[in-house]
Symmetry: C7
Subunit: 246 residues, 7 copies
Amino acid sequence: MQGQSQQQAYDRGITIFSPDGRLYQVEYAREAVKRGTASVGLRTPDGVVLAANRQVSSPLMERSSVEKIHKADDHVGIASAGHVADARQLIDLARRRAQGEQLRYGQDIGVETLTRAVTDHIQEYTQTGGARPFGVALLVGGVEDGEPRLFETDPSGTDYEWQAAAVGGDRDTIQGYLEEHYREDLDIDGGIELAVRALSEPEDGVVDAADVDVATVTTDDESFRSVEEDRLESIIAEIDTEESDE
Amino acid sequence: MQGQSQQQAYDRGITIFSPDGRLYQVEYAREAVKRGTASVGLRTPDGVVLAANRQVSSPLMERSSVEKIHKADDHVGIASAGHVADARQLIDLARRRAQGEQLRYGQDIGVETLTRAVTDHIQEYTQTGGARPFGVALLVGGVEDGEPRLFETDPSGTDYEWQAAAVGGDRDTIQGYLEEHYREDLDIDGGIELAVRALSEPEDGVVDAADVDVATVTTDDESFRSVEEDRLESIIAEIDTEESDE
Amino acid sequence: MQGQSQQQAYDRGITIFSPDGRLYQVEYAREAVKRGTASVGLRTPDGVVLAANRQVSSPLMERSSVEKIHKADDHVGIASAGHVADARQLIDLARRRAQGEQLRYGQDIGVETLTRAVTDHIQEYTQTGGARPFGVALLVGGVEDGEPRLFETDPSGTDYEWQAAAVGGDRDTIQGYLEEHYREDLDIDGGIELAVRALSEPEDGVVDAADVDVATVTTDDESFRSVEEDRLESIIAEIDTEESDE
Amino acid sequence: MQGQSQQQAYDRGITIFSPDGRLYQVEYAREAVKRGTASVGLRTPDGVVLAANRQVSSPLMERSSVEKIHKADDHVGIASAGHVADARQLIDLARRRAQGEQLRYGQDIGVETLTRAVTDHIQEYTQTGGARPFGVALLVGGVEDGEPRLFETDPSGTDYEWQAAAVGGDRDTIQGYLEEHYREDLDIDGGIELAVRALSEPEDGVVDAADVDVATVTTDDESFRSVEEDRLESIIAEIDTEESDE
Amino acid sequence: MQGQSQQQAYDRGITIFSPDGRLYQVEYAREAVKRGTASVGLRTPDGVVLAANRQVSSPLMERSSVEKIHKADDHVGIASAGHVADARQLIDLARRRAQGEQLRYGQDIGVETLTRAVTDHIQEYTQTGGARPFGVALLVGGVEDGEPRLFETDPSGTDYEWQAAAVGGDRDTIQGYLEEHYREDLDIDGGIELAVRALSEPEDGVVDAADVDVATVTTDDESFRSVEEDRLESIIAEIDTEESDE
Amino acid sequence: MQGQSQQQAYDRGITIFSPDGRLYQVEYAREAVKRGTASVGLRTPDGVVLAANRQVSSPLMERSSVEKIHKADDHVGIASAGHVADARQLIDLARRRAQGEQLRYGQDIGVETLTRAVTDHIQEYTQTGGARPFGVALLVGGVEDGEPRLFETDPSGTDYEWQAAAVGGDRDTIQGYLEEHYREDLDIDGGIELAVRALSEPEDGVVDAADVDVATVTTDDESFRSVEEDRLESIIAEIDTEESDE
Amino acid sequence: MQGQSQQQAYDRGITIFSPDGRLYQVEYAREAVKRGTASVGLRTPDGVVLAANRQVSSPLMERSSVEKIHKADDHVGIASAGHVADARQLIDLARRRAQGEQLRYGQDIGVETLTRAVTDHIQEYTQTGGARPFGVALLVGGVEDGEPRLFETDPSGTDYEWQAAAVGGDRDTIQGYLEEHYREDLDIDGGIELAVRALSEPEDGVVDAADVDVATVTTDDESFRSVEEDRLESIIAEIDTEESDE
């Protein structure tokens, strides 16, 4: 077992290996992700759903300014958890890469290709000195050749493809909920409902429509679209009804 | 809990993550913000109000030279709290970006776009080695497409949009006052009054017109304008009257 | 013998020699390799077989996204063990080198030449300051002038040619199994069977077809090809039959 | 409260924040300013007066070579306190900027603009690694659009505008004297007298004309001019008379 | 005598002098050489012989991949001992230099000139910061103007010319054997025999033909040539015969 | 008061401020100056005199090779004290600047301008990281517009103008002697005599002509000229006579 | 006096001043010189003599490969003591400078000019960070304008001119011998004899002709020439005779 004082030795300066082959700065960046509120993503046959908690620290703060789901391109959305300013850098990188693809080749960038561009950038910050890793995890969801795709990026620069995944605070609880309730044949509204329920799992009761940010990229028009608050409210209302029924 | 000696380990050299995922240098930069006198910003339907305490250390110092509210462009003003010389760098950056937009596209830069340019710059100083973070928080207020907008930037490079916000020393007290008294339908003079009252909250009695710097960007002409001292005096006089009435 | 506190002294900053002539950062990178799941490669007269464990941390994760065998060129595949994001950098490097050879000389890059390009890159990261070594071992398998070739790269930047080799967790157990059971006259299916058996050695029973990723580069068409799950299942079924027979 | 050993931790390497949001290297640079002999500046309707103690360590040293008041441009003078070689760098920067303005636009640089060019340079040395802050404070005095202006720069890169200010050793005593005796309607000779009296305050009796360096920038001809020793002597003689009268 | 804790002080960061004028990083690199298996080189009137132990860690490893004798140019071979990946960098450097000579001047590079190009490169890594020394010793053997030449390079960047030399593990034992048995009038086969006997000295009995890598550069055709295993076997057989005779 | 261990903290890495505003590396460079043998300079109406002790460590050393007075240009000489190799760098810089002035403007560089070029260079090495300060003090003497000028440069990059000054070992004793005996109306020979006497002050008796290096720049021809040993001997002889007379 | 632990503090990282104004890295480089075998140089009216001990660690090492006297140009030779690989860098630098002079100006470089080029390079490595000083001392001997010249360079970058000098191990003993026996009117053979005797001084008896490397640059043809072993033997034989006579 590694004592605390030894751990410190591997944190200073550049990111280097510990005697047991770990990169502590990357592991600490994962802790930064856990300090953020959770985001959820899932795939349905009709498209991808991204959802995120957004809690504001004051009633005077504009809810939109803690938005944690961003459009990266017409056909791709990104949800994040962790260090907010770091997330913005990666999302901007994704946007520039998507635009570059449009400019150079006149076509939509693949969701996997886009994710790799982001994780390559993340990896570089874990190996070369003079910078710290990115303290953020992303869920990159979109439609590629008519198929919904969902990827996660982690602070080591690894990417994973998921049917349904959670990142950020309470990740284990939420992921457990997804594993229990996810079905491959959900429709979009079912997907939104599951995402909201999953985000609500660590809380008492279902989250308010106002406290959650939801977006979809559907296969029919391959377009990123924020789910409006009233639609969200009616879905949540239905959940409440069901729950009272139980 | 982190002991003091461990904390020190994460402060040396470049900004790196602590084992619990925090960036201490960024948190210490937030302390530098708290060491500054407070600034307040708020939105009314008729425009944005920015207000700041300005206390001079000697009666021979020109009050204008501790000005903490700056014109970034015709339609945008910036109030600051924290390390003064750092603030000037960011305000100069904002001015250059606003001018660049005018030169290249012949149009006003959006308030949100301008804020992002600033926070991108701030974030870079928290990730790449060889420099410290900026020890300053800004309130960026302006009019965009006829709508008043108000943003805050923090030392991590995150931005938030607000209806009304305070930064700097006694922030919690002042923000609490704003949360209690802010109404969306204030007119500009009401906004100025509220800003002055909020800044006065940590003090005994209302601050002097001379000790406060107030500016507005109104929707009618989309122009940044300092509020002159006599107008401020008459507004403050009114406050005093009301207070005696109570 | 070297005490723990002395070891630490040689880990900070750049990769330097210890008094007994060792490079601790490289040795720790080897530990990172051991933390990964195992990969196996072997040569048969008919081609090269690469096989790797792929365990997913959640049933909702796409198995393909933890793929540990990658096509580097039409005639070369690469299996990896260790730090996943590091592996991807080296595989991308290999792809670019293979493509460059095609573009410049219109011919397939040699398997040995390709491996050397990778190990040169790895070595540089062990000698020059400002970066850490790569925490990954690769098995590079392909066909060169009609002959199957199999190389290993290690974190020091050394390469070895093998008839059959294992890298990653439980390497010693798996390599021992290979040494005992490898025969030079295996056919491709026999090679796949041996690879699967070897990967299963540290486990109880034979691994599931779903938990293993297998690919071949055969001499007849010099093409990298993933082994489909049903073919794998029938091979594994046969193993089970044999084992019950024993 | 911060103990001595903790303070040290924030002094090494680049300038970084302490846990309470301070920049110790900048604060220590302020100590370097206090180690220098004092300089004084003040504004009168007829122009700006700059005055500085200049004590020579040997009767064989040329008094002019410890000159602490420098002409930056025809219409601007600069007095300094602190690290002499650092001061020269900043004064040279100011001269180059003033000349640049003449060359490019054929006009005098504004006193405030010139001061900002200097403080921008100072701030950079407090944020970017690889250098220490400037250990010097300047008083920049001149005439701009017919108006006398007086600015102070401090080691953090902040500038302040003053009616009358002191920098360097015994600053508090001298500034206290200025606050008590400064009147806005002083004529130039009255300004020189006040400056000399203020510099004399920490001493017993009035300083010798030979031990003080005085210069003016008057509004009539907007020209920097050193006050000659005999004129200074007659002013000091008058002071002595008055004092004996008291 | 230097204590262990003091020694550590001179190992960190760049290669610097110890108080008694030593470069510890270079001395530790020499330890890395000793950790490698031995190589031997010797000169006969008919050419140069290079020989090296090559032990494989598994029967499945291709013996050729632990080859420690490399052709640098048609007329020059290089044997190495120590850090394998470092050796490859130096051998590649030697090849590029030899090719450059051919391209630019259309002639064979001199063996001494080639060795110097390598040792200049090695020396640079012992003086300039940001890198560690090369942990390898080379034996560079070839024919120059019809004469066989043999050079050694060490980790300090020094080169020595030899009649017969050993580098790597058990160097002292092997060199002692060479000093006792080397004769200037050996023919090539005698040279090969001596080299094999010398390498066998630290072992019990003579090494297997399979465990040794031998190459020659002969004066008649000035060509580097690996000695084939069967020729080696017959030479070793003869040794055994002689030994039984004794 | 600062203890020894605290002092050390401010010496490592780049030159930074101590809590009391000092630059220890610069102060230590001043100690390096004191470790050198002394140099003296003085002004007479007829020109500048430079004189320096030059002691050789062996009778076989050429006295000229420890020369400490150098011609910088036809009309400027430089004497030095401290780190000899550092001095040569600064003298070379001065020569290049003087030549540059001749090439660009066809005129002699001013003595003050030349000194400033040197001190700017010195100052840079005290502020920017990655180098140590210069461990040397110079006396720059020459004729400018017909007037003799004498400047000192110190390791902080400050320059002073003097009538007569000493630098290096025993500076205080020698400067005290100069302060007591210097007269403004000395002729050149009187100046040389005073310089030799001053250098002799810390010794018993007058220094030998062979142990002292003397040069002049006279106003009549504005030319640097070494004082030949026989002229020096006759001056010293005269001193001895006078002293015996006393 | 400085304790050992304090000394260490000034050795890490770049070369910096100690509190008493010393550069420890330079002093340790001088220790590296003392670890080398000695070299001797001396001037006679007919030319310069350079001589050096060359001991080989094995009878199989080519004596020529530990040569410590090198031709820098037709008219200049260099002997060295200390770190061999460092010496080669400086000698190569000297050769390039000498060749450059020939190419650009078609003339022999002066011995002093050449020495300065070398010492400038050495000095730079003692002041700028990121490298260690050169651990070598050189004796540069040659003919300039018909005159024999002999210079020494030390690790600080200082040069000295000598009639006769020793560097390296046992320097004091050898220099003492030279001081006692050197005469200005030696002929070349007398110079060689004295050099050999001086090198023999720390040993019992006279060194073997084979263990010493001697070269001359004579004034008649201004050519560097190694002294052949038989001529050396006859000179040494004569010494032995004389000694037996005593």
